[in-house]
Assembly symmetry: D2
Homo-oligomer: 342 residues x 4
Amino acid sequence: MLKIGIVGGTGYTGVELLRILAQHPEARIEAITSRKEAGIGVADFFPSLRGRLSLKFCDPAEAGLEKCDIVFFATPNGIAMQQARSLLDAGVRVIDLAADFRIKDVGIWEKWYRMSHACPDLVAEAIYGLPEINRDKIRNARLIANPGCYPTAVQLGFLPVVEAGIVDPDHLIADAKSGVSGAGRNPETHTLFAEAADNFKAYGVPGHRHLPEIRQGLSSAAGRPVGLTFVPHLTPMIRGIHATLYVRLTEDADLQALYEKRYAGEPFVDVLPAGAHPETRSVRGSNLCRIAVHRPQGGDTAVILSVTDNLVKGAAGQAVQNMNIMFGLPETLAIDHVPLLP
Amino acid sequence: MLKIGIVGGTGYTGVELLRILAQHPEARIEAITSRKEAGIGVADFFPSLRGRLSLKFCDPAEAGLEKCDIVFFATPNGIAMQQARSLLDAGVRVIDLAADFRIKDVGIWEKWYRMSHACPDLVAEAIYGLPEINRDKIRNARLIANPGCYPTAVQLGFLPVVEAGIVDPDHLIADAKSGVSGAGRNPETHTLFAEAADNFKAYGVPGHRHLPEIRQGLSSAAGRPVGLTFVPHLTPMIRGIHATLYVRLTEDADLQALYEKRYAGEPFVDVLPAGAHPETRSVRGSNLCRIAVHRPQGGDTAVILSVTDNLVKGAAGQAVQNMNIMFGLPETLAIDHVPLLP
Amino acid sequence: MLKIGIVGGTGYTGVELLRILAQHPEARIEAITSRKEAGIGVADFFPSLRGRLSLKFCDPAEAGLEKCDIVFFATPNGIAMQQARSLLDAGVRVIDLAADFRIKDVGIWEKWYRMSHACPDLVAEAIYGLPEINRDKIRNARLIANPGCYPTAVQLGFLPVVEAGIVDPDHLIADAKSGVSGAGRNPETHTLFAEAADNFKAYGVPGHRHLPEIRQGLSSAAGRPVGLTFVPHLTPMIRGIHATLYVRLTEDADLQALYEKRYAGEPFVDVLPAGAHPETRSVRGSNLCRIAVHRPQGGDTAVILSVTDNLVKGAAGQAVQNMNIMFGLPETLAIDHVPLLP
Amino acid sequence: MLKIGIVGGTGYTGVELLRILAQHPEARIEAITSRKEAGIGVADFFPSLRGRLSLKFCDPAEAGLEKCDIVFFATPNGIAMQQARSLLDAGVRVIDLAADFRIKDVGIWEKWYRMSHACPDLVAEAIYGLPEINRDKIRNARLIANPGCYPTAVQLGFLPVVEAGIVDPDHLIADAKSGVSGAGRNPETHTLFAEAADNFKAYGVPGHRHLPEIRQGLSSAAGRPVGLTFVPHLTPMIRGIHATLYVRLTEDADLQALYEKRYAGEPFVDVLPAGAHPETRSVRGSNLCRIAVHRPQGGDTAVILSVTDNLVKGAAGQAVQNMNIMFGLPETLAIDHVPLLP
């Protein structure tokens, strides 16, 4: 039975982690910290957990996290980098669901996240937790940088063609749409119901923090720097990411076969039949990424459609997938829910 | 391993039954019938089931339902009553998720459902599948009339005060609000997104088919006929029922204690602390009914709030709960999902 | 051309007032104040107004409100009562869209709003701006207390039967459902999209501030104190209120005729044909209140359904209706938009 | 006073046309036809119109359309081409809101719409009703092909750069998102609330009927055939189109100045300041198209964001704009509503 600690946990990533871990047969949550909610029952805070978790939020100082086998950081950016070292030194393995360890080039990270990094050496050590690329490294990692929600859907969509080197790598386009939970549980005007409902908009077109993360991953896959235009949009739905990807083919290829081969054996990537259009609800509440590949009108532009649940494969589910891999558990344990449709 | 048959199954009750049974460790779906979709893979029809069910819809004639241990009817009203007898005669137990066996007075049923009943004797035999009332009878039943979605939420909310005889039984009021999935998957104008979104309306105020069903249950609990005003409303959400119940107290009582005592030990009824307001999302995807009791401004009118997921406790989940009871399985088996929030 | 001032105006009531007044042929907005947004163009703040209003938010000190013909307060509770007197003294007429002047009994107001009242004498003078009751008094009023959103829909629904004295006045029940814009534009967790979407809940069952306001209006109509149970609910839609009202009839009456007669000639109250169910979208963006009356199953409980747009007839539209009356303009001027459906 | 006829009118384009024309000071609707609803009051069918239109749907045979000044076809594809000639011969001007006259190459039309065309000569005569391109021709046209919803938003977004010849014309990409009302009022499974809510998907990636229409318009603007990848998506909102357009710049240019100059004087095209992100709700219920231009990270890919209300500028509003132009009325008459936000 793994002893689990969670730092933060009052946001959507946190409650999703709790939902999954509450049903995990090999995990027991020992402590969940929140300065602000210390003393409050987790199930009083999140009524969906009533009867399933008797835990209370506790003050970080009293959490005893160093006695856990693994600690998840479901915190804002900049927290995990302050606390990871002491946990690692105590032999605790760490998964950061925020961005602190995602970007290998610390200068780039500091520019996009507008902070000084507290521990560049740990950035170097951290493994980027996308199992479809790094499964073997994850197994023995002490510190996992869990990928962002957009980067997961976008990279899984691009990887086969970028790895195969059959597209113009300087002009990748990712038009991505996210449900509003991706913006977090902190109250802000633009994510109010009366602002975001019955509405659609792009945001961050000049530059979004997930751009360097995606570019890093795809450049690594391509073996050279790639050029990427990334446009995120806010969609009036709670969960889900839909990435529509456009690539210019530089040589002919059987795209369908390429995708099916690349993801054969992957438990959480589902390549749809030719001609299909994945829907975000077909993965709601699940750790799946469903992908379809198109070549409209037989032209040289291919269109790849990739959908995930931003809170599961895009956050908490992928974190538990990484945990399962790290501890030699069946990779799908406790994250094999059938999606909730309708 | 129970051998399961499903008649119908292309609607929302059907896909929810499939979602639950696909994860049930003691059940195997042997056949699912649909005349219209015969030959189509269930997972091609409902993409959420890709990778989880390899079954195809089959023609009823070729389904071999009489070899099943139990058959669920997830059909329109009027189908189960045609087919139940031959299955029962073959030793198969039957759960009807439609209304065919819910109303004991066949004359009333025929008036509200505008059909002649095909087998009044089976109506007499059928057990109304609300475990919180009929658990013992369900255990040995051959034929279960699975309750309607509104009747489940409304009856569970009213039962403690009606059984206790502390309210005016002639003037019960149930103001109920349902998500749109309650109207089914058949395309109709009024349930189109562009009609039902950003909109709220009452319907069926002069009379709704669930009125006699609720009245029957509450009359039985009261030991005398009750008077009920039932007003259903359509709410722009996918799943969920919220029943707001109004009763006139005829004597003083500790309502909170009454409810907690009535439902102590019930695995799927959660009485919230005094002063609480249950949300439909706190039961989304789960078999739970959460209830709160109020007595506003200390008056003689009590307000009871009761929420369920109409497709789970209001349909497929309750059906599986009944199945678990009928076959001596743990009652919560495969229907103990933590609700999906947000 | 009326010279208009607006105090506050960065909330939903404010933008709705701006939408209406920007199209009003006899009104010119001279100043709109906001300490926080002073210097920002109104159309930069609310992009829907681009090209229609060149005004900027200004500091209250520089607004010159005393030179206006009328000033609207679209502010939080407790502001208008601080500033109304000096405007009135300068000969400016005032409409408060908040609650400062709605409750005649200052003690009750102070209890529910948890503030000391700054000017009880003005409360005594203020006219409650529900034209369907007070049209004549509104004409000559200096100070209007514009009704709340729930109180408008609920009172218009109850008035005919309460005035006629044909219902039990001690046991009125109002089950009301509101769109999320009714909670305002201030960022709070419970009105985030990811909290309020696909969800339904009651709130404030023990007591909501609109309870004493409604009770005051109905008591006045009844000529004696009434007993009211008022349960508000949050519905996942942007605009709209749906009030479902329950009354016990104490004598027989032709309710349909009663309602049609009571509201004959009212430009903004539409009594639907017998058997109808009004939808909130049928009044979206308009100043209308649509009402239907039912007597289900011929019992002694009548059900009245009343819908409004909470931001129009429930706030800004009614305020402009009051202004039109006060200045002898056609009552429907600039508030006669056809509802936006779908 | 223009005498107006409407053929069809039970769909969303129809009710929007009625909303606008009911408030048009120079138009009187003489007849609206519907075989199916003949005899039903328009305001009984669309409750938003109660009190504003006393008209009934009538049988086409009794409509007397030939006595109108102008007839709108708000019908499915393939109807207007059957009936337009006799109206034109009678001196009636015609605006078809469907696709019958949009594509000049009849062979292409017949391929995409899977019908034989009834009157190719009228196709040749018809003017494509996008005033921002064809204002002068519209003035004297007898027959207007009113543009599709996607083509309006997409063409207005692309036009300035395509006309200027500063982008690679072979690789235009249009990633477009539509509200569900764009799919019409006919009941179909995929547009049910419980299917389309809380969900996002692409559709028609292999080929959508609006592709040839957009390609025709842009080829004309470019003076040579263009290559276009067009991917439409269904978004869980009622109204609105958001087009995200990607172009490869072939020479440097001040895009902001180019767009502002191109649309200077256009009453319904609003070029936002540099760096802006238009929201669909900022045009809800209005005839506006708002556009913003970006060049992310200073690369050679420009991103243009274009939003419209699909039922107004994308259908009924643009039709009335065309009518106003054809009859020498002020172009903005009756279509200058301030958008409804929130």
